[in-house]
Amino acid sequence: MSPRHWALALLLALPVLAAAQPQAEEPPLTVQATLDAGQQERYRRLIHELRCLVCQNQTIADSNAPLAQDLRSQVERQIAEGRSDDDIRHYMTARYGDFVLYKPPVQRNTVFLWAGPFLLLLGALAIALRQLLRRRNAAAITPAAPDPQALQKLLDEDRP
């Protein structure tokens, strides 16, 4: 292969190489490594579902903002104290609102958020079905057989 081919091959491979990069390292435990394997698993899951409020679109696992560090150590401490996942989620929403959860709870003001995509899908299906039926009906209409007398009449009229 010529150098140009090599360069092209490398360029094409770049996205694949980037995807193969290991994910950013997990933030280290801050308080003390007193969590057993199951608790560490819960810790990892929880910090990936809580939003870092100062960075908007990052979880507290992804961010190193001081607030994210504080919230991570809260999660860690509360797990060590034996609190349940729901207790910890409740602790966070009581202070920061539902916005802190990446997965919003199903409640009155989020009904449309949850049901919306399905409603849109139903609407799209209804439109598609209507189009299909209309097309089938159109195909079902066969042109009527021509009336030979009317045809003859037309031909006669055309004759000078």
């Binding site: 100062v54 504080d70 809260q74 009581a94 202070r95 920061y96």
Partner: protein, 171 residues
């Protein structure tokens, strides 16, 4: 007729996007509005006694989370000094700061606070749902949070939102 439905959908979409543009994504509504002030028990700057949420009751107050390292606090500071001069009681919550830095900062820029509570670890900040200083909570005489200002206090927020709330309190 054929384009009516897509056009209507587009208009609806544009209206939603338009509303989205007028909202500040940094302002997260606080679930604490309408609830009693969260509990704390902390030391004061330059005073021997401790300060708790019960000390906030009995009259309307502003609880202002600030820090000497916070740039937005410099922005709102002249307004707070002015409000304090008009007789508004402001309690300062010195968030993740040191006594010495706080004292120097107040000497340099003026002290609008009736009391300065030292939240050196940011524990009160966490319980009050603070996610970035400055933030100001408006408390009624029962110690209930009636409003939260996120970011620097502004003349507009004071005259349009907070002062009417406090006036409603006194009458």
């Amino acid at each position: 007729m054929r384009f009516l439905i897509p056009a209507a959908l587009l208009v609806v979409l544009l209206v939603f996007l338009g509303i989205g543009l007028t909202r500040d994504p940094r302002e997260v509504p606080s679930p604490l509005v309408g609830k009693p002030a969260p509990a704390f028990d902390l030391a004061l700057l330059g005073e021997p006694q401790r300060y708790t949420q019960d000390d906030l009751k009995g009259r309307p107050v502003l609880v202002n989370f600030w820090a000497s390292w916070c740039a937005g606090c410099r922005v709102e500071h002249p307004l707070l000094v002015k409000l304090a001069g008009e007789g508004v009681e402001i309690i300062g919550m010195d968030y993740k700061d040191t006594d010495e830095a706080a004292r120097q900062w107040l000497q340099r820029h003026g002290n609008p606070y009736r009391r300065v509570v030292l939240d050196a670890q940011g524990t009160a900040g966490l319980d009050w749902g603070v996610y970035g200083v400055p933030e100001t909570f408006v408390l009624d005489a029962n110690g209930t949070i009636v409003y939260k200002q996120i970011g620097p206090m502004t003349e507009q927020a004071w005259t349009e939102k907070i002062r009417p709330l406090l006036q409603g309190q006194k009458s």
